[in-house]
């Protein structure tokens, strides 16, 4: 019920429709990774997925933002099904992610770590590489989120009604012998490429 309201509001203000270009929406284990420029990213990507996939897909969200305040926390945990992580490290920041993957579920990841202000995504953090190495069965799907920095930039109070889309690119996989920096750069390029197809 709350999920439907959130989706209706999202559609009305910022659209948030999906473009499945490199793959189809399928019920298999996936790690969706996308560029990050707005707090709306999580909601847009979540809303772009079909309903049945939403139930088994967990956005990875920063505890210092989504864990704050009871409303945000409620939306993150109960509506978005999010997995909260500590950005400042801790013992193993990836532990909650592994737990979700071990359960056979999918993840939504923003490998830049924090919201960028540039048109192109910044350097990816290493978490994606570690998960790719540890969970070879999970498909890695690059997603490009368009217009979010204009619709809801850092520091804005309300999202402006500008249509945002989530473009899903073709899956990538960690190649045998591929180094971490090479893989992370290739993943970053895949996100950019997903946004370029018309």
């Amino acid at each position: 019920m709350i999920a439907s309201v959130l989706i209706a509001v999202t559609r009305f203000i910022v659209g948030g429709h999906a473009r499945w270009q490199g793959c189809a929406p399928e019920a298999r284990q996936r790690i969706y990774f996308a560029n990050h420029s707005s707090h709306l990213d999580t909601i847009i990507l979540w809303a772009a997925l079909p309903k049945d996939l939403r139930a088994t897909t967990h956005p990875v969200a920063a505890r210092d933002y989504w864990g704050k305040g009871s409303l945000r926390r409620f939306i993150a945990l109960r509506v978005l099904n999010a997995v909260l992580v500590d950005r400042d490290g801790g013992a193993d920041p990836l532990a909650p992610l592994r737990a979700a993957l071990n359960a056979g579920d999918s993840l939504i990841l923003f490998p830049e770590g924090t919201r960028g202000t540039e048109a192109e995504p910044r350097r990816f953090k290493s978490g994606l590489h570690r998960l790719a190495a540890d969970y070879p069965a999970a498909e890695l799907v690059p997603v490009h989120l368009t217009n979010l920095a204009r619709a809801y930039p850092k520091g804005a109070i309300l999202p402006a009604p500008i249509i945002c889309t989530a473009s899903f690119g073709g899956p990538i996989a960690l190649a045998p012998g591929e180094t971490k920096p090479a893989f992370l750069e290739r993943a970053r390029k895949a996100v950019i490429a997903a946004g370029e197809v018309a």
Binding site: G15, T117, N147, A149, R150, A151, Y152, P153, K154, A156, L158, A160, P161, I162, I163
Partner: protein, 312 residues
């Protein structure tokens, strides 16, 4: 609901019924690949027309407030489409948000309130001055003039211009009290019928494009044939307006010409932004603004002509 309204809506429904039947027959007879695509698009358009007419009919029947809400939503969707494909920057966010959340409701509230003087200057004066101030506070000077101009243009076309259609409801004419809805019906019918008839005449006889680089589908044959037919229908609707038959014809001609210019200018804007359609919201037509481009030019022209020559 007046007797005239029943007759008019009945007429529109009859017209749509004929169009749907024609579309059905054409779909059976289309043989080539190209013809099938054209007919499929035609039938999508006709289906969308049913929905649009139904929405308008309900708003008209419920009354002024509902009609204003409908036009405000139309402006909202048009502005959203316009700004979504216009390269604004994150630094423009505040100006864009204020355009949506302040100026759309305010502009339509002024019509509801009947405050005609402020309605006429709100966006050309107050928004014009306020929006660049909001953007300049962010300190980003790159592309400042084009960025400011884009937002102002978007607001003028999609909110200010379109709001002149329902603003017809606040004009006062001698011996015409309570009938302004008919005038709004007259405007919308002539604009949209002109678009449809230009499309039909263009498809049937179109050879010489008016501005091939801007819009290859707009032809002289379509403009003249469709425009004259729509003018004729407008003249025939004189009995629902405060005009004499020849005046209704002249008004319809002004609407047709302004609407054509609107379609052409907005096509050029669209092309300069690298898009073919404004959006995907209306099946077969493209975006809402693809349907409202002619209204955005025709509404202010018709509003001011009627206001100047006929209103009290």
């Amino acid at each position: 609901m007046t007797d005239e309204m029943i007759v008019l809506l009945g007429g529109v429904f009859a017209l749509l019924l004929v169009a749907s039947c024609a579309g059905f027959v054409l779909a059976r007879r289309a043989t080539s690949e190209g013809a099938r695509a054209t007919v499929a698009n035609l039938n999508d358009r006709i289906k969308a027309w049913w929905a649009m007419v139904a929405i308008f009919a309900v708003a008209f029947l419920v009354g002024k407030e509902m009609t204003l809400v409908l036009f405000a939503l139309t402006s909202f969707f048009c502005l959203r489409e316009f700004l979504s494909i216009t390269p604004t920057r994150p630094e423009d966010h505040r100006a864009v948000a204020v355009a949506f959340y302040l100026f759309i409701p305010l502009q339509y509230w002024l019509i509801a309130d009947g405050w005609q003087t402020l309605f006429a200057i709100l966006i050309p004066v107050w928004a014009f001055l306020l929006l660049p101030v909001l953007a300049v506070l962010k300190g980003e000077t790159g592309d400042f003039l084009p960025r400011t101009a884009r937002i102002q243009w978007a607001l003028m076309l999609t909110v200010y211009c379109i709001s002149h259609a329902p603003a017809l409801l606040i004009l006062k004419f001698p011996d015409y009290a309570g009938q302004n809805f008919l005038l709004l019906f007259f405007l919308i019918t002539v604009v949209q019928l002109s678009d449809v008839l230009q499309y039909v005449f263009g498809k049937l006889f179109g050879k010489h494009p008016v501005a091939p680089r801007v819009s290859p589908s707009k032809t002289w044959e379509g403009l003249i044939g469709g425009g004259l037919a729509a003018t004729g229908v407008g003249a025939g609707l004189w009995w629902i307006t405060p005009f004499a038959p020849w005046q209704a014809g002249a008004m319809a001609l002004a609407i047709v010409l302004a609407g054509f210019c609107g379609g052409l200018v907005l096509s050029a804007v669209k092309r300069s932004l690298g898009a073919k359609d404004w959006g995907t919201m209306i099946e077969g037509h493209g975006g809402v603004l693809d349907r409202m481009d002619s209204v955005s030019f025709a509404a202010p022209v018709f509003f001011h002509l009627t206001n100047y020559f006929f209103a009290m």
